[in-house]
């Protein structure tokens, strides 16, 4: 268990910058999720902490100690990867024993046996212990992989998209399992993913990475409800936040290219917002479909998700996402009226994309 701090980390491969001046702090016992697209620098961050790469600039502290000169073995971190993380010629038991048999640890045989048994029980892989790893299913492999990490009691768990290669059902199950495991162990987790659902459902804190820059860190609630800029607004949430370009004219939001108007007289209206080019951000669940609502639209598409429906609305040739309760009947091309919940609207500056609430 440990506290991790990255200070002003820059990592370049040749001319390409993978990370630029990254500052990141992970509290002891925290489940921290780094969210970003492929190539955003998530894996690089993880490998830097693991000691598999050296930063071009900046320092890494584990529990306040600068570990810049430490090798991977000395840092005492555990790594779980998306694939290839099990030693293919070994049995499950041998895989679990492997980290304990390292010369730097010198764990007595009896304890190795006991720890492996305990971990196998926790992850429900006891029946697989004598099996070769190439005879495991994807989910079993990732379980063993996680087992090999927790058998060691490392200071930090680093997970590089461990669930991405699994099918949806299994991913969901392991997500819960992993989160429970982390809480049970009270361990520090750094979990890397491109899947915003994983980030939202598992993270105590989320860091959103974009092209080597850490755009925003915060709790899932903060990230979701108060995105720092349009990038974060787009990255988190499924379907993503609707972003509508327009202006604020005397208490009304005038959506420009789509040419419709919505009332906006939020009490938290920032000063100086009037008249300037803005982006209005509204979550699908804050768009309300009702008979007397201000704007007319056509139903472009309906996705039935069981608990609710995701409706794509068309205004002119502009598309908007909204959610609707499952029981509401909606037909394609049907005329509907919608409004929004003005209290939930986020305002972004059109030029910079930065939220007015964050800009102060």
């Amino acid at each position: 268990m440990a506290h991790i701090q990255l200070q002003n980390i820059t990592k370049s491969f040749g001319n390409h910058f993978a990370l630029k001046g990254l500052n990141l702090e992970i509290e002891d016992g925290e489940f921290f999720v780094l969210l970003g697209e492929t190539g955003a620098g998530k894996t690089t961050t993880l490998r830097l902490i693991a000691g598999l790469e050296k930063p071009s600039e900046g320092q890494i502290f584990i529990d306040g100690t600068d570990v810049g000169d430490w090798g991977a073995a000395e840092r005492d971190v555990a790594l779980v990867l998306q694939q290839y993380s099990l030693y293919p010629r070994y049995t499950v038991r041998e895989n679990l024993e492997f980290p304990l048999k390292s010369k730097i640890r010198r764990v007595p045989d009896a304890e190795i046996k006991e720890r492996v048994t305990r971990v196998a029980r926790t992850l429900r892989i006891e029946h697989l212990l004598e099996r070769k790893t190439d005879r495991l299913s994807g989910g079993e492999m990732q379980r063993v992989s996680i087992g090999r990490a927790i058998v060691r009691k490392p200071r930090v768990f680093l997970m590089d998209e461990p669930l991405s290669a699994l099918d949806a059902k299994l991913r969901e199950a392991l997500r819960t399992e992993l989160k429970n495991l982390q809480m049970g162990l009270g361990a520090t987790f750094l979990f890397v993913t491109h899947d915003q659902i994983e980030a939202m459902s598992m993270g105590d804190k989320i860091g959103v990475l974009n092209h080597g820059n850490l755009v925003q860190t915060g709790t899932p609630y903060e990230i979701y409800n108060n995105p720092l800029n349009t990038f974060v607004a787009r990255a988190v949430g499924s379907p993503p936040m609707n972003l509508l370009e327009g202006r604020l004219v005397s208490g009304r939001a005038v959506i420009a290219p789509a040419s419709f108007e919505l009332p906006y007289n939020g009490a938290a209206r920032p000063s100086g917002a009037d008249g300037r080019p803005l982006v209005f951000g509204i979550r699908p669940e804050d768009i309300v479909l009702e008979a007397g609502a201000p704007v007319e639209a056509k139903v472009h598409d309906v996705e039935n998700h069981g608990v609710e429906k995701i409706v794509t609305l068309r205004v002119g040739d502009h598309l908007l996402h909204a959610t609707a309760p499952a029981r509401i009947e909606l037909a394609m091309e049907q005329d509907v009226r919608f409004g929004w919940n003005p209290g939930k609207v986020a305002l972004f500056d059109q030029a910079s994309g930065v939220s007015l609430r964050h800009a102060g």
Partner: protein, 319 residues
């Protein structure tokens, strides 16, 4: 639904089997010829047309291992009766077994030459594959300045025909005293096989995901330990394939062995044909020597056949 084979497909399949059989027979014919000649009596070895059915005998092998000289006088019936069976075989051929002053039977040079071949081929194979594996690992896993140029340079050592370098090598070896020594040939063959070994092993090691070693590094192992515990077992197939190739090259090498050695370190390839020239050639003895010479490679390849088949597909790792 089960695939139903059409009659044309069946016919093509049969045709392919026949073709394979014919090709196999063509390839096996010389081996059969060597093996059968080795077991023929001398008078049947060179008959035209070749004798196919005969009573196999081991006289050629006795003659191969015993040091012999021409008989000046016919042995007396008593001498013939007193001689053991293998000595009689030699006497039947008009020769006698050479004994030293104490009456000990002298061995021919063949076992020594055979041992030389084994020593040189095995040692140079171990060295070439070992060094090749380490070098290939370095090239595969680390960023090396001018990697492509270096690899090309390594390969370029194979581009000159051996004959071109044979004379300069001979002169250099004479200066440093490596002529006619085991180490002389071992160094030569190792150098010769190394480029091949590096290139082949690099291909195999590139196939092994580096995630395995990184997992081991994070698990608390040094790079060396990770190499031996994780990479090497994965590379076993490639190592086996490379070893077979290196061994065959070293085992069959003729030109350098002929030039660089004459007695102490001479290997079997230049020795066997040298027997042809002394007196009337006894083809059965030469065939016996060649037949035994074929065995180590055949056995070695047979033992590693499973690795070889997988190794030849050059994609040994399940992805």
């Amino acid at each position: 639904m089960a695939q139903v084979k059409t009659s044309t497909e069946v016919a093509l399949n049969r045709l392919a089997i026949v073709a394979v059989l014919v090709i196999t027979l063509i390839f096996l014919a010389p081996i059969y010829w060597i093996a059968s000649t080795a077991f023929k009596p001398r008078n049947l070895a060179t008959t035209i047309p070749p004798t196919v059915l005969f009573q196999p005998e081991v006289s050629s092998f006795v003659k191969l291992f015993a040091k012999r000289s021409q008989l000046r006088t016919q042995p007396t019936p008593e001498e013939y009766e007193a001689a053991p069976w293998w000595e009689r075989i030699v006497m039947n051929g008009g020769e006698k077994v050479v004994r030293d002053g104490k009456g000990q039977v002298q061995m021919s040079a063949y076992p020594d030459r055979f041992m030389n071949s084994l020593i040189v081929a095995v040692t140079s194979t171990v060295l070439a594959v070992g060094m090749g594996t380490f070098t290939a690992y370095g090239f595969s896993r680390f960023k090396i300045k001018g990697e492509a140029d270096l690899l090309f340079f390594i390969l370029s050592t194979r581009m000159l025909p051996p004959v071109v370098v044979a004379i300069p090598m001979f002169l250099m070896y004479r200066v440093v005293g490596l002529n006619d020594t085991h180490w002389g040939l071992i160094i030569l063959y190792t150098a010769f096989n190394l480029s091949f070994s590096v290139w082949l092993m690099k291909g195999f090691i590139d196939e092994i995901p580096k995630e395995y070693e990184e997992a081991a590094l994070v698990d608390g192992y040094t790079r060396m330990q990770a190499f031996f515990k994780v990479v090497l077992p994965e590379a076993a197939t490639g190592i086996a394939a490379t070893a077979v190739f290196c061994f065959i090259t070293a085992w069959n090498e003729y030109a350098f062995a002929l030039i660089m050695t004459n007695r102490r370190a001479q290997t079997a390839p230049p020795f066997i044909p040298s027997q042809v020239g002394s007196g009337l050639p006894d083809w059965t003895v030469i065939a016996a020597g060649t037949f035994l010479f074929l065995l180590p490679v055949a056995i070695f390849t047979f033992l590693l056949r499973n690795h070889l088949l997988r190794g030849m597909s050059f994609g040994a790792i399940r992805k």
